[in-house]
Amino acid sequence: MSEDRFEYALRLGDNALILSHRLSQWCGHGPALEEDIALTNVALDLLGQAQLWLELAGALEGKGRSADDFAYRRDAGAFRNALLVERPNGDYGHTLMRQYLFDAWHIEALSALARSADARFAEIAAKAEKEAAYHVERSAELVIALGDGTDESRARMQAALDALWPYAGELFVGDALDARLAAEGVAPSAESLRPAWDAATNAVFAQATLTPPAAAFAHKGGRTGRHTEALGHLLAEMQFLPRAYPDARW
């Protein structure tokens, strides 16, 4: 059913778009020139992926909406991204921890999607998977370096993990739509990605001398448009120009 696929493409596109925007907020403010460039590269990779997914969403919807229409002309309640990616940047440790938690999920999701029964999903996922493989390698090494670093860097990374952990669980809680697409072989079920994610993140946290919280509580709502306050502020900034000057070209 193409409505399901439209909705699923939006979820993937919105995850990439919102995280890309969060990372772009660091541009020019990174803790070192090299980090600034590296993080901006990740932001650009994700923006490119967002464009592909949102174009696919537009094609599946069939109402002529472009990627820009989806990015700039929807209010928070219409966004389908996971809550994790909209969380504020915080300090650099927060940004890196959020990135790692997402990257470790992203690589599993994309490698499963690259085998999708729907060639349109498989094609985009195969391209994005190469980028995501580098993203997770980079964020994992930085989590380890800073976790297993100085007292201060370790404390900051543990605080980031404690704060973001309740937002990671949502990635693995599927709904009826996920189940239908999994049955059709279009997308992996949300739950099926958890064992590989647990194994990878536990190994990294052990090396980083960090301890994930024991509580399994997970905030949910991203996929039904119930977002945290942070998304509204992000969209106000991201959408200001096209909303104030509709159809402006630059």
């Binding site: 803790p31 020139l33 090299e34 580098y134 390698e137 090494e141 370096a145």
Partner: protein, 92 residues
Amino acid sequence: MSSEWPLWEVFIRGQHGLNHRHVGSLHAVDASQALRNARDVYTRRHEGVSIWVARSSDIVASSPSENGPQFEPAAPRVYPHPTFHDDEARPT
């Protein structure tokens, strides 16, 4: 922060290049971070196929103040150049 990180020199072999060429330098805490930073800072557009990094402090350089004694004596000599073996270039 970056001033506390050691400096690395970056050498990249491009798709059509045979040799690694020096492209610049960057800061990184260790070799693996230097490789990742080099990838991000220097290879995004022209897609190199191989990266070398070396600690700048490990590179031994000739001294500019000795450029005269080092390089000038070679200038007037023709015999180190391959054309020396052409008949016309041979000193009479």
